[in-house]
Symmetry: C2
Subunit: 743 residues, 2 copies
C-alpha cells in the first residue's frame, strides 16, 4: 500500500492517478471533473466539525426536531408545513429547469418529491462537500429521466456540483446537469442511468459491495463499513428484464440494506400502464424474496413514507421494495396523472396553473429562505459524519493494520506496489493452452495481490474458467467471499459490476460469459464505457473455434461491434503472454472497461509475443525483413495469430521478407505515436493480409485499399472447430495465397 | 391475391419466391431447404387420408388406446410399458448421438423425455410430411441445448428432416442436426433457440400470432385457426430477463393456448441452482398472471403430465406454466442430478451403466420395432389432420372469400399484387419532416395493403411514430387489432416478433424503440438475422440529433455494429423517398430482417433521392462532373446527406466537380455488380469524404486510404441538437474543408 496513513482517505481518493477520459475530445468534458473545492473546506474546517456530538447540540438549537430525525432516522420529524414547502421547492425547481430548457421530464420529480425530500433531508447520511466520502449512503435514480429530482436534491443538500446556475443550464452544452444522471459529469450522482432498469441493477451492485466489504472488514468493535443503498425506480424499470434479473439476485443474496422505492404512478410514455403492464409487481417481488411495503399515498403521506423506511431498515435479511403510489405530475391541475407530463415541459400556462394550485408565489428557481436554512445543516452535519468516520477509521487502522491497508486500497484505488509482478509469463516452450485457461491463471494470480478483485460468471464458471480457487462463493451467509455466482443473467451481471466498480475506485470487478452473449448485456457494457466503470469482461468461446455449439454460439460481428464503441478496450490475446498483457492493461485502466475475447481451444505459446507488445495494441512478433520494408505484412489476432505465423514460415521458405503483426487491441494501437505506428505498419508497404475468425468489417482501414482481409462475413456453423476453420478458409494456405497475390 | 384457390395452401407455401439465403456461402445451407417430398405423398394419398374418421377407425384397430388418446387428447393413454420404452428410446437416441459426436447435452433429453413423448405422441397435432402445415401445433425447445430431445422426437414422429443418418451426424458439418435447434436447417424446428430465454419469448410470439389470426378470421361455424403453442424451458431460461418480459406480456394478453413446461431440474452449468436461483418461480408467474401447475414427478409421472396438460387446456384465459420436476440425466446411475451430465457425453462406461440401469439391450441408435410401429401412425394421422383442415379451408374460402384471401396471403407469404403502389413519394417541394414521421406515413399506407403487417413499440409509440391509425390495440379482449403494446421490454419485443414472423410467412412484424436501445435487444435481432425472420426494426432517434437526452440515448457505434452483422439490412434513409425505399426493400425481404435508423429531427426532401436508389444501397443523388471523374465524392447517410449536399453546393460555387452519394444501405450496395459500384464510386477517384453522425468505424473501406471520414468517435452529449452538431464538427464547413484538402 503506497499511500501513507497520514493522508486522509478523502484526500487519497483525489490523489489517484488521472487516466485519460473517454472520447476523442477530452476537453469537452473538462467541466465535469470534480474540483473538490468543497472537500478542502471540509478539511480546513475539520476542527469545527470534528465532534459530531457538539455539532448535534448546535443543530438542536437551530432545528430541534429535524436534527434528531436526521441523526436518529425517522424517530421524529420536522413540521409538516416546512416539509411541504421543501417538497414544493423540489417540484418547482424541476418544473422551472425543464421549462427553461424546454426539454425534460417534470412528471417524476413532481410525483417523487416527497420520497426524495425524506431521503435526502431526513434519512441519508452523506457529506455534500465530499461526494466521494466512502461510507456515504448511496442513492440511485433508476428512472433516470427524472434527473431534475436528483439535481434539485443535490442543490438543496449543498453539493457544489449543482448550483443555481447549473439548474438554469439544465440539458445545455457542458452543463453539470445533463439530460440524464451521469456520474462522470455530476459529483453526487453515483452511477449513470436513463436506460431503464440499469439503475436498480447498479444499486444491487452497490449493495453487494457494501455487504461484501462489511463482512470482510467490520469488527465487533468497529463497524467501519455501514451504509444503505436507496433506489427510485419506475414502471419502465420494472418492465425491463434486467431489473428482474438483478432483483432475483438481490433476493437470493439477502441484501438487507438495499431499499428500493417503486414509483407506482400507473403512467408510462404510451399512457396508462394498463395497456401493457398488469402484472402484480408485489407478488413477483415476493417470489423474488423481497420484503414488500405499500405506501398508498406517496403524494402527501410523509409519515407513511417514513414508517416504510423504518420498517425496511428493520428487515435485515431481505431487500425491501417500497411500492409508493404517486401521481405523476402531482400538482399540475390539467396534466397530472397523464403521459403528457412525463417527458415535456408543462408550458407557461400550466406552470402558472400549477403555481396557483400548489400556492407557490415565487420566481422561477427560487428557494425560499426557510427551506434554504432548513437544508443548510447538511453541510456541517455531513462534514461531521465524515469526521466521525475518519476518527473511527484511524482507530481501525491502529488496531487492524493489515485489514485497513487492504480496505484503504479498495477505498482509494491505489494498487499495491509491484502487483504486476504477479502476472505470469511464458516462453514458446510453455505448453499450448486455451486463452480461457491462461485467463484463469491470471485471475488467480491477481486475486492474491489485488484486494478489490471480485467477480464471476453467468453460470459458466467452469467454461469461462473464472473461479478464484483461494476463495469461496459470495453468498447470503458468506458475503466475505469473492466468487460471485450470477446465474444466467448476463445483463444484470454487467450492471451489477458497474455498481461494484463505481462503489469504490479500488474494486476491480470482472464478469464472464460466452463472447456471443455480450449481445445480452451490451446495454450494460456501453454504460461501463460511458460511466468510466473499469469492469473486466472475460469473454470466452470467442469464435467459430468453439465448434459444435454452432452459429447461435459463435461470435462473428462482436469484435467489430466493440471496436466501434467509444472508451472500451477490446482485446483478443493470442497466447499466455498476450493474455497477461491484456490483464495488465485492464487492471490499470480503471476508467475504461476491457473486453477480453478468449479461446475455447488450445493455442501454442508464440515466439515474439509479450506483455509490452500488448500495451502498444499492435506490434511485430516476427520479421525477416530489413529497413522497415517487408514484402508483405501479415496481421492476426487471437487464435489466428498462429495461422499468420505459420503462413509467414511458408512464405519465408520461399525467401519472402515477411512481418507478422499481432493486432491485439486496436484502441491501444490508435493511442500510439505516428512514429510507432509507421514502425509497425509502414505506409509504403501496402501488401497487407489480415486474418481473424470474425467479420472483416473495419479491417479495410488496417489493410488498406490494396490489402486483403481474411475473415468470416456470414454466420458460423455447427461442426468440429477444425472442420469449420477449413471450410471457411481461415487457414495458413489462404493467407499464403493472398500474400502471393499482393507481393 | 395472386395464388389460385385450386392450389392447396401447403403447395402455395412452397411456391413462394425463393430469396437468397444469408451468408456468403449459400450452398452450405442447401441441405436445409425442405424438399417437401412428404407433402407430395400427402397430396397423392389424399384419397386414402381424406376421411379422418375412417383413418381413426383403422388406427383404433392397430392401437386401440393410443389413437383415441391422440385424437381426443388425454382421455385415455397407451400402456405404460410401451410409453416407457418409447421414452427410453428418446433417451438413448440422445445419449447415442451425443456420444458419437462426443459433444452435446444429454442431460435435458434424458430428464424431459417423458413430457416430450407425451407431447409429440399423445397431444400435439402436426403433419410430419408437411412441417409447414399452417394449423399445426407449435413446439419450441427454449432450452435449445437439449436439441437431441427434439431431433429424437422428430425422428420418431416421421419427419423426413431427421433420419437415422441425421442423428448419427449430430453436430457435424452440413448436418440437419446442428448443435442447437435451427429452423433454417431442420424442417420441424419452428424457431432458432440456444441463447437462453429466446425460445419462451418466441413462443409468446407464436401464441400471439395464433390468437390474433383466430380473432380475425375464425367464424362461429368455422374455426379455421386453432392450435396450441408448447414450450419446454429450463432454469437457465427462467433466470434470463427476457423470459420475464415475455411472460409478463403473455399473462397480460391472456394467451390461453400457450402451455409452457418448466423443466425444474435444479441443475445448471455451475451446479445446483441453489447457488444462484432460489426465487419462487411459481409465485413470480402467479404475479405475472399465469396459471401454475406442478408436476412433482416428471421422470415417470406420465399421468400427472397428462392431467396437467388437460388442466392447462381447460384454462383458456391465461397461459399455463407446468412446472415439471425432473432429474437431469435421468437413468444415468453416476451422473444423474449433476452438472456433469448437462453438457458432455456420458462416456462409454457411463453409457453402459445407463443401459444396464434402464434395461436397454439395444445397439446405439436402435429404435425397437414396437416403438417404431407405435409412432408410425403419425404419418397417416398427420396427413389426415391436414386434409381435414384443407377441407375446412375450402369451405371457409367459399363462404368468406375476402377473409380467406387475406388469410391465405398470411399463410403463404404471397404479397398482394401492386402493394408497393401504396408507398408514398416526395418531391423537393414536399415539406421537411423527420424520417420517424415519414416512417409512420409508410407504415399506415402499408397497413392498408398488407394483411400481415402487425407491430408496435416498447412504450415509445408516440416517439417512434408507429401507431397504425386504422387499428386499435392488440389486447386480451381485442386480439384482432394490430397495434401491439410491448411495454418497456425491448428484448422480449424482438423475440416475440421473431415468433410472429416465423409463425407464417405472410406476417410482417415490426417493432420500435430508440436506436440506442437496440443494445437491449441485440440478441433477439441477431436471431432474426440468423433464423431468417424478416422483422422490421423501426429505430428512431438515430444520432446525436436527438439532442438533450444526452449520451445514454445517443447512438454512436450502432450503425457500424449492425453493418458488421450478417444477414441484416441496415438502412439510414435521408428523407421521404428513402424512407419509402427502405420500407419497400424491408417488406420484400422476408428472410432478412431490416433495421431502419430514423431521425427525431426534421429533414428536407432532397433532390435526387429515390426508392430505386435505395434498392441499390448506394447511389448518386447529384453530380456536376462528367466522364465519371468528379474532383471529389461526398458520401452521406440519413440526416447527414443534407450536409453533404450543402457542402457540394459550396464546392460547386468554386467550380469543383462534385458528386454526392447517398449510402443508405451498405449491404445492398455490396450486393450490386462491380460495374454499378464503379459507376458510383470509381476506383480512380480517391478524393472521397464521408459524413455520418456516428462512429467512423468501417468507413475506411469506403473512403479509402486517401479519403476522409467525418464522424463521431466519442460518446455524445446533452445539449440542443444543433449545438452538438456544431461542437462535434458534423457540419458542411467540415466537409468543404476536408474536400479541399483532398482535391
Amino acid at each position: 500500500m503506497a499511500s501513507s496513513s497520514s493522508l486522509t482517505l478523502s484526500q487519497a481518493i483525489l490523489s489517484r492517478p488521472s487516466i485519460p477520459r473517454h472520447g476523442s475530445s477530452p476537453q469537452l468534458h473538462s467541466a465535469s471533473i470534480p474540483s473538490f473545492s468543497g472537500l478542502k473546506s471540509v478539511s480546513s474546517s475539520a476542527a469545527a466539525a470534528a465532534s459530531l456530538s457538539r455539532r448535534r447540540a448546535a443543530a438542536v438549537v437551530r432545528h430541534p426536531v429535524i436534527a434528531s430525525a436526521a441523526v436518529e432516522t425517522l424517530e421524529k420529524t420536522t413540521d409538516t408545513e416546512l416539509v411541504e414547502k421543501s417538497v414544493n421547492t423540489i417540484r418547482f425547481l424541476s418544473i422551472d429547469a425543464v421549462e427553461k430548457a424546454n426539454s425534460g421530464h417534470p412528471g417524476l420529480p413532481m410525483g417523487c418529491a416527497p420520497m426524495g425530500h425524506i431521503l435526502y433531508d431526513e434519512v441519508m447520511r452523506y457529506n455534500p462537500k465530499n461526494p466521494y466520502w466512502f461510507n456515504r449512503d448511496r442513492f440511485v435514480l433508476s428512472a433516470g429521466h427524472g434527473c431534475m429530482l436528483q439535481y434539485a436534491l443535490l442543490h438543496l443538500a449543498g453539493y457544489d456540483s449543482v448550483q443555481e446556475d447549473d439548474l438554469k443550464n439544465f440539458r445545455q452544452w457542458e452543463s453539470r446537469t445533463p439530460g440524464h444522471p451521469e456520474n462522470f459529469e455530476t459529483p453526487g450522482v453515483e452511477v449513470t442511468t436513463g436506460p431503464l432498469g440499469q439503475g436498480i441493477a447498479n444499486a444491487v451492485g452497490l449493495a453487494l459491495a457494501e455487504k461484501h466489504l462489511a463482512a470482510r472488514y467490520n469488527k465487533p468493535d468497529n463497524e467501519i463499513v455501514d451504509h444503505y443503498t436507496y433506489v427510485i425506480l419506475g414502471d419502465g424499470c420494472q418492465m425491463e428484464g434486467i431489473s428482474n434479473e438483478a432483483a432475483s439476485l438481490a433476493g437470493h443474496w439477502g441484501l438487507g440494506k438495499l431499499i428500493a422505492f417503486y414509483d407506482d404512478n400507473h403512467i408510462s410514455i404510451d399512457g396508462d400502464t394498463e395497456i401493457a403492464f398488469t402484472e402484480s409487481v408485489d407478488t413477483r417481488f415476493e417470489g423474488l424474496g423481497w420484503h414488500i411495503i405499500w405506501v398508498k399515498n406517496g403524494n402527501t403521506g410523509y409519515d407513511e413514507i417514513r414508517a416504510a423506511i423504518k420498517e425496511a431498515k428493520s428487515v435485515t435479511d431481505k431487500p425491501t421494495l417500497i411500492k409508493v403510489t404517486t401521481t405523476i405530475g402531482f400538482g399540475s391541475p390539467n396534466k397530472a396523472n397523464s403521459y403528457s407530463v412525463h417527458g415535456s415541459a408543462l408550458g407557461a400556462k400550466e406552470v402558472e396553473a400549477t403555481r396557483q394550485n400548489l400556492g407557490w408565489p415565487y420566481e422561477p428557481f427560487h428557494v425560499p429562505e426557510d427551506v434554504k436554512s432548513h437544508w443548510s445543516r447538511h453541510t456541517p452535519e455531513g462534514a461531521a459524519f465524515e469526521a466521525e468516520w475518519n476518527a473511527k477509521f484511524a482507530e481501525y487502522e491502529k488496531k487492524y493494520p493489515e485489514e485497513s491497508a487492504e480496505l484503504k486500497s479498495i477505498i482509494t484505488g491505489a494498487l499495491p506496489a509491484g502487483w504486476e509482478k504477479a502476472l505470469p509469463t511464458y516462453t514458446p516452450e510453455s505448453p499450448a493452452d486455451a486463452t480461457r485457461n491462461l485467463s484463469q491463471t491470471n485471475l488467480n494470480a491477481l486475486a492474491k495481490v489485488l484486494p478489490g478483485l471480485i467477480g464471476g460468471s453467468a453460470d459458466l464458471a467452469s467454461s469461462n474458467m473464472t473461479l478464484l480457487k483461494m476463495f469461496g462463493d459470495f453468498q447470503k451467509n458468506t458475503p466475505e467471499e469473492r466468487n460471485v455466482r450470477f446465474g444466467v443473467r448476463e445483463h444484470g451481471m454487467g450492471a451489477i459490476c458497474n455498481g461494484i466498480a463505481l462503489h469504490s475506485p479500488g474494486f476491480i470487478p470482472y464478469c464472464a460469459t460466452f463472447f456471443v452473449f455480450t449481445d445480452y448485456m451490451r446495454a450494460s457494457m456501453r454504460i461501463s464505457a460511458l460511466s468510466e466503470a473499469g469492469v473486466i469482461y472475460v469473454m470466452t468461446h470467442d469464435s467459430i473455434g468453439l465448434g459444435e455449439d454452432g452459429p447461435t454460439h459463435q461470435p462473428i460481428e462482436h469484435l467489430a461491434s466493440f471496436r466501434a464503441m467509444p472508451n472500451i478496450l477490446m482485446f483478443r490475446p493470442a497466447d499466455g503472454n498476450e493474455t497477461a498483457g491484456a490483464y495488465k492493461v485492464a487492471v490499470l485502466n480503471r476508467k475504461r472497461p476491457s473486453v477480453l475475447a478468449l479461446s475455447r481451444q488450445k493455442l501454442p505459446q508464440l515466439p515474439g509475443t509479450s506483455i509490452e507488445g500488448v500495451e502498444k495494441g499492435g506490434y511485430t512478433i516476427s520479421d525477416n525483413s530489413s529497413g522497415n520494408k517487408p514484402d508483405v505484412i501479415l496481421i492476426g489476432t487471437g487464435s489466428e495469430l498462429e495461422i499468420a505465423a505459420k503462413a509467414a514460415d511458408e512464405l519465408r521458405k520461399e525467401a519472402k521478407a515477411v512481418r507478422v503483426v499481432s493486432f491485439v487491441s486496436w484502441e491501444l494501437f490508435d493511442d500510439q505515436s505516428a512514429e510507432y505506428k509507421e514502425s509497425v505498419l509502414p505506409a509504403a508497404v501496402t501488401a497487407r493480409v489480415s486474418i481473424e475468425a470474425g467479420s472483416t468489417f473495419g479491417w479495410g482501414k488496417i489493410v488498406g485499399s490494396s490489402g486483403k482481409a481474411i475473415g468470416i462475413d456470414r454466420f458460423g456453423a455447427s461442426a468440429p472447430a477444425g472442420k469449420i476453420y477449413k471450410e471457411f478458409g481461415i487457414t495458413a494456405e489462404a493467407v499464403v495465397a493472398a500474400a502471393k497475390e499482393l507481393i
